[in-house]
Amino acid sequence: MDKKRIMVIDDEKIVGDMAKMSLEQEGYEVETFLSAEPALARLKERTFDVVVTDYKMKGIDGMEVLRTVKREYPATTVIMITAFANLDAAIEALRGDVHDFFPKPVKIKELKASIKRALEKAV
């Protein structure tokens, strides 16, 4: 069986590194990006089952990633994480059909559970 593919976009290296390490333990294939531009370019080459993206980033931000993914790759689930845990952002993100929304620091166990749910839903 093919490994499920997860993309993590966060402008802070530590977030991507930690997410990659812990999600690979679960048997996922993980690619990390420090900004949205190369991540969106990568999506054109390869499909991903789940995209975990930071909300606030320089250049293309998390909302733009969400909109693009929903438009171009409707089968891909988006999970939003953000350092700015304000309600407005959450509501906006949820309206944009985000699967889940986490304020940072994110409990890795909860992120894993959310990804698992997303993948089950997709099947």
């Binding site: 802070e12 530590i14 590194d17 620091p105 994110v106 890795i108 166990k109």
Partner: protein, 860 residues
């Protein structure tokens, strides 16, 4: 009795210091001023508590279970800083000059935290440093490996060869001078850098030119070294990558050049070769795997005098497959290179921690290497008779195990040690770095099989430090039990106590009856990564002393009978992996400047602002000094008038000064027990009047009048008015400072009781003087025995006893205070009764069983 001479000196020192502190500070002149001081004290306690909560939360978030970003760390540190600043401000109100020094020291610590946060770890300005001037804190400048070696050289009674280090600053100068990154083309996203880009870097490093300042510094260091070791000495040139905490081994990733003759050209050539290996293929891949940015990577390089080794090899102070009870030694003839590289079939010894060899395999050792006189290393065939002979003796194994124990203890974890014995049989330590105790293959799921019987604790408990460990249960009831703790034990402890720090480096896990997440012990357990569960209610009763158990503190929290190998394997694996990430560890490194507690014992001479190395130390110092200051101030406050007399059913003669909320509204100058609203004082007073606890006719010397029942010797009756003045309670709703003088015996109880266990404390001080020395010490021992049973930490000095208990919840503290009240009454006239040593335990038992009526008991 307790305490040796040096102890006494230390404590005398502290008392002198306390006195000098008191002299410097202004004393409250009236009740209002004392009230103000008391409010400062309470606010200090509140901000201290919040600060400790923040530290605890940081420990959890940065522990590997959360995705966090720099903003989180920054925000949290800002909040922590605000709390500590608030504590310092309130301390300023409480105390005078000491504040200024502490403030400066805190600013220094905070500055270091910010530097790590901003990625600018403090580096030395030196391009080259002699090994003798290096310690463990200098990893940013000299790399983890050389920092450890310097630390071992300075701090341990072990031989470490002479040498020096070209620092990371020297490396920077080299890279800058040769414009390495500019020429290679700076990549935005280095993760997509190709292997050939790395090759280009390595090539430039290999053929670079040393800047003049580095060349000169190197030549100077070499000149000095040569003057000590002679022209014949050869050097080993080794990498020491700039890794703050040295956790990452980089084992075998970088080049080492051996047998380098002591001339500048040869040294520079070796330097170039070693630094180039930072960017060589495998090293680059390794860095990428763990998230190192090549532009941020720096390499210090060590130049260490080679030991002309007869035998050498590697010592693991634990079995890398997971066993902490043995050490593993690989050894071969000659230089250790062949052992390290795995080139030779070396001798293998597995030894217990007592040095006894439990397993031995003599390798064929077909080849051996030795220094070539003109430089370099030469490999030869091992003479036949040497091949079958063990390369080291039993005595040498013993010596290695002993050295391994020292290194492991000093560096707080299993070590991977390179060593050599020279022709004179002297043991040299060539390197010591953390040993990664690897997990078993595959992530086994944690399960409980039928034969194991999980315990059900009274309460769920709080996991202070996650982890999985196995060991033999050892029950700790008092600090004295700590002396007999075997290595690798699982401790079942009644109350959580920072004294446990003494054994933390050598125990497997801690489970306590009471305790909290923010206690000092909890912080220490995290620092030492000892799996710890607190507040189970009944661990000391439930866990089977002397039996082996496996403690699981993770997603599942359980204690299983016996040793569960699969659980141990999976626990270790999880702990190890997140630690591999460089960025993660760098952020976590901040915790090292924040969370560890070095100031544990307020009776030590080094309990001073200058000894504070972490934020936690500063908080601890503030706490201890604030309590001391309050006790002093309360003494002054008591003489300021505005007091009422307390009418108790016993003639205790206590005057009360209420600074707010300690008494119901009164008419006149008398208050009754029922009118006390101060929680701690009410508890003590109720204990004092507990039926039978106050004895007025038990002692032969007793008199029937009011005053005589308070005092013990007739000649003191004349001083009765002053006696009365000495029995003073300064109280508020949550606080009491009670000064009681019964006969010659002077007792101070200071207690604060709130809903925050962290803030709660009971301080008990007893200074006595009675008929003869032995009896006095028996009374002291009786009090010690009783207080210890209730969880107090006790220090005694001559006829002075100081007991401290803190961190208990409101109800527990009140219950203990009730016992303290009974103790006050019970031991009031005890001297004449304690006729022999056995009496101490006998009377303690009377007390514990509530058999206070000693007259009746004696009649039997």
């Amino acid at each position: 009795m307790t305490g040796d001479v040096s102890d006494l000196n230390m404590k005398n020192g502290i008392i002198t210091k306390l006195r000098s502190l008191v002299r410097r500070t202004r004393q409250p002149r009236n009740r209002e001023e004392f009230g103000q001081l008391f409010r400062s004290f309470r606010e200090l306690m509140d901000s201290n508590t919040r600060a400790l909560e923040i530290i605890t939360e940081m420990g959890e978030i940065l522990g590997g279970d959360y995705l966090f970003d720099i903003q989180y760390v920054r925000r949290t540190l800002d909040e922590l800083d605000a709390r500590v600043a608030s504590s310092l401000r309130h301390f300023d109100e409480l105390s005078g000059e000491e504040h200024r020094e502490l403030n400066e020291i805190y600013r220094g610590i905070n500055g270091a935290v910010r530097q790590v946060l901003d990625g600018a770890a403090p580096e030395t300005g030196e391009l080259v440093l002699p090994l003798g001037k290096i310690d463990g804190s200098m990893a940013a400048s000299v790399g983890g490996k050389m920092a450890n070696l310097g630390e071992a050289k300075r701090s341990l009674p072990l031989l470490v060869p002479d040498g020096f280090v070209v620092t990371t600053r020297g490396f920077d100068a080299y890279v800058r001078h040769n414009r390495v990154f500019e020429k290679a083309g700076l990549r935005k996203d280095w993760r997509s850098a190709s292997p050939s880009w790395y090759d280009g870097l390595a090539e430039m490093m290999l053929h670079g030119e040393l800047p003049a300042e580095l060349h000169q510094a190197l030549a100077r260091a070499l000149g000095k070294l040569r003057s000590r070791c002679g022209n014949g000495c050869m050097l080993a040139v080794r990498s020491s990558a700039g890794d703050e905490d040295g956790v990452h081994s980089f084992a075998g990733q970088f080049a080492t050049v051996l047998g380098v003759p002591p001339d500048t050209d040869a040294l520079e050539k070796a330097y170039r070769k070693v630094t180039a290996s930072l960017f060589s293929g495998p090293a680059a891949a390794y860095q990428e795997r763990f998230g190192y940015d090549p532009r941020a990577m720096k390499m210090a390089v060590g130049f260490v005098v080679m030991v002309d080794a007869v035998a050498s090899g590697v010592l693991f102070t634990a079995d890398p497959a997971g066993g902490r009870d043995v050490m593993v030694i690989s050894s071969a003839w000659g230089l250790g290179t062949s052992v390290v590289d795995g080139k030779v079939d070396a001798d293998q010894f597995v030894a217990g921690r007592d040095g006894a060899v439990v397993e031995e395999r003599i390798g064929s050792k077909a080849a051996m290497s030795a220094q070539r006189p003109g430089g370099g290393v030469r490999e030869t065939e091992t003479p036949g008779e040497l091949r079958v002979e063990p390369s080291i003796s039993r005595t040498q194994i013993n010596e290695l195990v002993r050295a391994g124990g020292l290194l492991e203890k000093h560096f707080r974890g299993p070590q991977d040690v390179e060593w050599a014995f020279d022709a004179e049989g002297r043991l040299f330590i060539l390197q010591s770095r953390p040993l990664r105790v690897a997990a078993g293959a595959g992530a086994a799921s944690i399960r409980t099989d039928d034969s194991s019987s999980p315990f059900s604790f009274r309460s769920a408990g709080i996991v202070v430090q996650r982890g999985v460990a196995a060991g033999v249960v050892h029950v700790i009831k008092t600090d004295r039990d700590l002396e007999t703790v075997p290595r690798g034990a699982v401790l079942a402890v009644k109350h959580d106590s920072p004294s446990l720090v003494r054994v933390m480096p050598r125990i497997a896990a801690i489970i306590t009856d009471t305790g909290s997440l923010t206690s000092h012990m909890a912080s220490l357990a995290r620092e030492f990564r000892v799996p710890t569960l607190v507040n189970t209610g009944n661990a000391t009763k439930l866990l089977p002393a002397g039996r082996e158990v496996t403690v699981l503190l993770g997603e599942e929290v359980a204690v299983l009978m016996g040793r569960d190998a699969s659980a141990l394997a999976s626990g270790q694996e999880q702990a190890a992996q997140m630690d591999d990430l460089y960025e993660f560890r760098r952020k976590r490194y901040i915790l090292r400047l924040v969370a560890p507690l070095n100031l544990v014992d307020p009776f030590r001479d080094d309990f001073s602002p200058r000894a504070c190395r972490t934020v936690h130390d500063v908080l601890r110092f503030l706490h201890e000094r604030a309590v001391a200051r309050l006790i002093e101030a309360a003494g002054f406050g008591a003489r300021s008038g505005g007091a009422v007399k307390l009418d108790l059913p016993i003639p205790a003669g206590i005057t009360v000064i209420d600074i707010g909320g300690g008494l119901e509204a009164l008419q006149g100058e008398h208050a009754a027990l029922g009118q006390i609203t101060s929680v701690p004082f009410r508890a003590i007073a109720e204990g004092m009047v507990h039926p039978g606890a106050w004895r007025s006719e038990a002692v032969p010397l007793s008199m029937n009048n009011f005053l005589a029942s308070m005092v013990h010797a007739p000649d003191l009756v004349a001083e009765s008015d002053r006696q009365m003045g000495a029995n003073v309670a300064v109280i508020s709703g949550e606080y009491v400072n009670l000064n009681i003088k019964f006969g010659y015996h002077y007792t101070v109880i200071d207690s604060y009781v709130s809903d925050t266990p962290r803030s709660n404390h009971i301080y008990f001080r007893f200074a006595g003087g009675a008929t003869d020395l032995n009896k006095r010490s028996r009374r002291l021992r009786l009090i010690e025995r009783i207080l210890t049973e209730h969880g107090f930490g006790i220090t005694t000095r001559g006829d002075l006893l100081i007991g401290r208990l803190s961190g208990l919840g409101r109800q527990e503290t009140v219950a203990v205070l009730d016992q303290v009240g009974r103790l006050l009454s019970f031991t009031r006239q005890m001297d004449a009764l304690l006729q022999d040593d056995n009496a101490v335990e006998r009377y303690a038992q009377y007390f514990f069983t509530g058999a206070y009526d000693i007259t009746a008991l004696q009649g039997k």
